[in-house]
């Protein structure tokens, strides 16, 4: 989850912009209009903002892999009239590397149409087109956002109707409940875990009740054909480049990307975020330095004396950069990709551990990522040195999302309706 982005979204109304006060036209008081055109200094672009990425063997169809990619942090379901949609002039991509060289071998690209009327009237259905390696592959429609029982009755049926099955794949795009969970408020407050360094609940799920826009793709394993059965996955968003002289050629610039959770927040310095977001995983080696000596480990030691190793963190490079040997290693190319070894069987539901691999469950993070994996706790423990033998029971006190995910595609739960949303309720 891009926490910074979410915090910014939450601040929303207050952190924004100039007044566009230009008085136009023939009035005798036409001012020097240019002075009131000031653009926002910090341009938030939530509809291009990757929030989370998941990749897992489908529990009900183990011969397939499901990738779920979320965009638009912190959608308040009751935000009408400011309804959220995919951006009609952006490209949304899910990239899969099957050879370990951190270059995409399979790219699913999505473009979305405009809503039929102004979005603020609540018409949020968008047509979409999907290309597989630049060849048109499928078309479909998003369901509407879950506005409420009168606008969007029988929401689950609207969702199942909008799943497209084509060429062995299942595809869905539309609003979902944000599967991410965590006590972001406390984490931002100097990593103040509400119950000390324990993991016994008591945290407040900052994401409860919030929605995102998701693209979910279910792919037959037979189609993946990856080296060592391990794929590297990342999602990205591109926007059109424009020039002042409109006749000059335009291209596209990647404005956001996401592989592993928390990397953007923890690893990438603020000054490099724009650069990170437009760069490709294949060039990620330049960011390995901060991973080897993470400032966060030092901060944790300063605050909580957890004895986290502060240097030589090749364990972190493995988890986030190359895959872990014997689990999901893809070679020595350092790249932020979510790596899934799909030869590892689906963990039966009663044996699923929210901490994934460090909880003894190789079916979850960092071997891919399931919707219910507690990546905040897992990442905190890994940061404290779990893989180097320093096993500290860290956690933010939020151990699951606020609503259960679905047993079948697209798995991520239905969004709370704007009518009946209970976001922000403290969790027990």
């Amino acid at each position: 989850m891009k926490k910074a982005a979410l915090a910014a979204a939450a601040l929303g109304a207050i952190t924004i912009t100039a007044l566009a006060a230009a008085v136009v036209g023939s009035g005798p008081s036409a001012g020097t209009a240019s002075s009131h055109r000031e653009a926002p200094l910090i341009a938030e672009d939530p509809s291009a903002d990757n929030t989370d990425l998941y990749a897992f063997r489908s529990p009900d169809k183990p011969n397939t892999v499901t990738i779920v990619s979320n965009w638009i942090p912190g959608e308040d379901p009751a935000a009408g009239p400011n309804y959220y949609t995919f951006s009609p002039s952006a490209k949304y991509k899910i990239n899969i590397d099957r050879t370990g060289d951190a270059r995409p071998d399979i790219v699913y690209e999505f473009r979305f149409g405009r809503t039929a009327g102004p979005a603020f009237l609540g018409n949020t259905v968008q047509n979409w087109s999907m290309w597989r390696n630049k060849k048109l592959f499928a078309r479909g429609k998003t369901p509407p956002n879950n506005i409420g029982p009168r606008s969007t009755p029988n929401y689950p049926s609207l969702v199942s109707k909008s799943i497209v099955n084509k060429g062995g794949l299942s595809v869905f795009a539309g609003q979902r409940d944000d599967a991410f969970f965590g006590d972001i408020g406390a984490i931002f407050d100097l990593l103040a875990f509400r119950k000390g360094t324990g993991a016994n609940g008591g945290g407040k799920d900052f994401f409860a009740g919030y929605a995102v826009h998701a693209i979910a793709v279910q792919i037959p394993i037979a189609e993946l054909k990856a080296k060592n059965s391990t794929i590297g996955v990342w999602a990205s968003t591109e926007r059109q480049n424009v020039t002042v002289n409109g006749k000059l050629k335009r291209g596209w610039t990647q404005v956001s990307r996401l592989g592993n959770p928390l990397v953007n927040e923890v690893v990438v310095p603020t000054a490099a975020k724009d650069q990170w977001n437009r760069s490709a995983p294949v060039n990620d080696k330049q960011y390995a330095g901060p991973v080897l000596t993470p400032i966060l480990a030092k901060l944790m030691n300063d605050l909580y004396k957890v004895n986290a190793p502060e240097t030589n963190r090749d364990d972190l490079v493995a988890v986030f950069g190359t895959g872990v040997k014997g689990l999901n290693y893809t070679g020595d190319t350092v790249a932020d990709m979510l790596r899934l070894n799909y030869s590892i069987p689906v963990t039966p539901s009663e044996k699923v551990n929210r901490l994934g691999v460090i909880g003894g469950d190789n079916g979850g993070f960092p071997n891919g990522r399931r919707l219910g994996d507690d990546v905040v706790d897992a990442a905190e423990r890994v940061m404290a040195g779990f893989l180097k033998g320093n096993k500290v029971e860290l956690g933010d006190g939020v151990n699951a999302g606020d609503v259960p995910n679905l047993p079948t595609f697209p798995y991520e739960a239905n969004p709370a309706s704007g009518f009946a949303n209970g976001k922000g309720e403290p969790r027990p």
Binding site: V24, G27, A43, S47, N82, R239, T243, T270, D274
Partner: protein, 401 residues
Amino acid sequence: MKMIGFIALVLAAASAALLGGALQEVRAASPGEAERLATRGLQLQQQARATGNPALYPRVERELRAALELEPRSALALRGLAALAASRHRFAESLVFAERARALEPQVASVYGLIGDANLELGRYRKAFAAFDRMSRLKPTASAYARVSYARELLGDVDGAIGAMELAIDASIGVAEPSAWSRTLLANLLLSQQRVAEADVRFREALAFVPAYPAALAGLAEIASREGDLDRAAALYRRAAGGAPVPEFTAALGDTLDQLGRHAEAERAWLQADELERLFAANGGRNLLETAEFDLNHDRNLRSALDRARRGRTERPSVEGDHVLAWALYKNGKCLEARSVSLRSLRLGTLDVDGLYHHSLIEQCLGNTDAAAAYRAKVRRLDAAYLANAPSARRLSAQAG
């Protein structure tokens, strides 16, 4: 930034002052403190702009300068100071801060927006456009699209400006104020093309995103005024002016009341606009061009307006500065000098109806009737109704020089 963080910072600064050499240690003990302070300064400034309240500027400046003192290499604080200077229309100063920020963090896209804005207002268009192109290449955001749109508008490419602003709208999905802001700018462009019905829809959309959004209310007022419904226009301008202490809204309210024959009320609104300009200046804002243009449009203080226009244009040698100076020269009967400055103001090919009309008056004043007629024709093509309600053409009688 949390209050506790702020207190910690003050304590850190105090102990740093006492301990002298221990400064480095204090800094190390509070990593990111300067960044938090700078961020707070930025948020305050965004608030100043969103509320149109220049009284916040000195506080913004204190916070950002404190951040810079703590961390002289804080590009964030430098970008904030550049943005603040631009808000105060101190563009040369803004450019200095922005260039310092760029030297430290050349990969951050937003700095090229600041550099471009400053160059634009300083009349260095090639540099400005190159900066906007760079910004768009590094990170196409609503801010980048809106800047490219404005540059195209200045170049007379209104269709291109509309296209870029539509992209800005798409890149603002999910954030209410930028959604309202980009729609309002698009509506203004549409209005300049006499696409009134489309503009009306966009202004109303903006109001759906941010209720009582002052700039959108002013836009609807403009439409009402064009349609001859001056009562409605006055009511809308009054709401816009009530929502943001921006002189233009209050001045437009005065103008509308004046047209309605409510002269005493109009006079009060104009005085209020003066007051707001003084507030802006008292908080570090530069508004020589703005106050000069206001006076010129209202046939008052013409000599002093010319003096302000000259000084203002020296500070801001942009087409806008040229435009106000040319208008001031004309109003003071100096039509020969006005002509060359006016031609400079039109040199980008901007389809600015006021500028074209003023130029037609200047040509007329010089006895160039054909040229005057040609410029009036341009005005008519842009806005058929403009000449029926044109600004006052009154001027002081010709003087030597």
